[in-house]
Amino acid sequence: MEHYDKKIIERLDLMAVNVRKHVIEMLYRAKSGHPGGSLSAVDMIVALYFAHMNHDSKNPNDPDRDRFILSKGHAVPALYAVLAESGYFSVDELKNLREINCMLQGHPVCSYVPGIEASTGSLGHGLSFANGVALAGKLDENEYNVYVMMGDGETDEGQVWEAAAAASHYKLDNLTAFIDRNFLQIDGNTEEVMRLESARDRWSSFGWHVTEIDGHNMKQILDALNETDNHKRQPSVIILNTVKGKGVSFMENNVDFHGVPPNEMEYNMAMEELDLIQKKLEG
């Protein structure tokens, strides 16, 4: 296990709360969007952009950059907030999520927003896209890493398994996939809608290197990323055990907050809770 400066973990945890507050604020303003899956994805995205990936907001098209593809595009508020906090565009722009004549679309569009690598929103495409980016990296003998995040429900899609086969066939060891394993999709619990277990066995039988961690624990996240980056001759998948709606008590594990934004009262309650967590972290 790596030893991290306590400061790094604290800084990431603080940024994660900050991003969660942005997410709640954005969805409240937009009066639409997907809180549950955005909140469950926050910690990994924060860790990638603030402590792991090689990227530069001032040079978003750098051919040597590491790439992150958000296949579960409905969680894009979390990514927009991270991109803004990283300097890809102004934090002020977050106010305009989902507004007409504005940049930040309800689902990511690569032609509109600096830092967005792939246009997603139709589930199931992202892993194939990431394979393409990873294959290009091999062809060009470029050292960049490719990361892609899928929802657990998203892995119902057949295309995900076509891509899973291809990534292992081509030994895409420059690729790491994340499954946001929050056990919820829209119609209910993943195991009732369309059973996914054993997710670990499925991925490993497709020839992937599988790791499973607490997707809200920064130390485990950083350890897993360092480990999978160095794993050779196989693509890696990190199953992130997460809580849908993480950080806002009444949204946690609540399927009703998949695609419904907070109303005014819920907004106030959520911000209070997040402020409290923030204060605690700031000690």
């Binding site: 309800g106 689902h107 139709s122 429900g153 369309m194």
Partner: protein, 316 residues
């Protein structure tokens, strides 16, 4: 103006499925993790053994429906219009259209009035995609009452069919008695008129009714057709309208390419009808996130725009 009574066509779909489920024990329903939005959940609750949750796996859903149909079931498969067509085109082409399978695809969230989810979720090509398939019937009901009737007709008429409705609540246009006259493949004369014909489908019928009233005040007497069946197209009616009014304008929440307007343009051209003609729809572009009413204004699909287009057309 009397206040409009609103109802959601999606609810009409769910309620009609439940009603038909009782009458037809071989009616089955499939959904792809959107049953709360498409309202197939109503059927799922009433007939859990005849409801198949397919998860987020639309291609699998369509081909499975074809298998069910081959054994005499009447499958209704539902999801959003984007995922119900483009996403699964080859499955529809081979397993439904080519095979003449008795599968009914019922799609919700068609058009740009889906709103803030953005262009990825605003399906404006589905009518064109489905219309080009041999054997496929293509439907776009306009209000909750007509939706219920059309769902019934889908269940009782054989063959692969595609129907799409929008996401939003919509004003009730028809009463129950009038709706009994609905036939697949027959356009409905909503209002008679002599100066110009507006042919609309789906969500554009209601604004066309308002536009007609406004035009009437300005001395223009438009007739209005609700073309709920885009395929097979009621060509006889189109030709009759062209001859009678000499001017036709089409309106749909869909690309101007290949949909209702495209179908009518083909009919008019092939019959060498000397008619002034204009298509209203999305002008070959992707739209964006925004409030539905703002989007419809920006992209030219509301009452005001219909009035303007009609006036432009007949002044020309």
């Amino acid at each position: 103006m009397s206040k409009k009574i609103m109802a959601n066509p999606r609810n009409a779909y769910g309620e009609t499925l439940v009603k038909l489920g009782e009458k037809y024990p071989n009616l089955v329903v499939l959904d792809a993790d959107l049953s709360k939005s498409t309202k197939t959940i109503m059927f799922a609750k009433k007939y859990p053994e005849r409801f198949f949750e397919m998860g987020i796996a639309e291609a699998n859903m369509i081909s499975t429906a074809a298998g069910l149909a081959s054994c005499g079931k009447i499958p209704f498969a539902s999801t959003f219009a984007v995922f119900a067509t483009g996403r699964v085109y080859d499955q529809i082409r081979i397993d439904l259209a080519y095979s003449q399978a008795n599968v009914k695809i019922f799609a919700t969230h068609g058009g740009i009035s889906v709103g803030k989810d953005g262009a990825s979720h605003q399906m404006i090509e589905d009518i064109a995609l489905m219309r080009v398939l041999p054997n496929m019937t293509v439907l776009a009901p306009s209000d909750a009452t007509q939706t219920g009737k059309i769902v019934e007709l889908m269940a009782t008429n054989k063959g692969p069919m595609y129907a799409r409705i929008g996401r939003a609540n919509a004003p009730i246009i028809y009463d129950k008695d009038y709706i009994e006259s609905v036939e697949l493949g027959k356009g409905m004369m909503v209002e008679d008129g002599s100066d110009v014909t507006i042919i609309a489908c789906g969500t554009m019928v209601d604004p066309a009714i308002d536009a007609r009233k406004t035009l009437l005040k300005q001395g223009i007497n438009a007739q209005l057709i609700d073309m709920h069946t885009i395929k097979p197209l009621d060509e006889k009616l189109v030709i009759k309208c062209a001859k009678k009014t000499g001017a036709i304008i089409t309106a749909e929440e869909h690309s101007i390419i290949g949909g209702l307007g495209g179908a009518i343009a083909e009919t008019l051209a092939e019959n060498s009808l000397p008619v002034r003609f204009r298509r209203m729809g999305i002008k070959d572009r992707f739209c964006e996130s925004g409030e539905p009413k703002d989007l419809l204004e920006k992209y030219g699909l509301n009452e005001k725009h219909i009035v303007k287009n009609v006036k432009d057309l007949i002044d020309r």
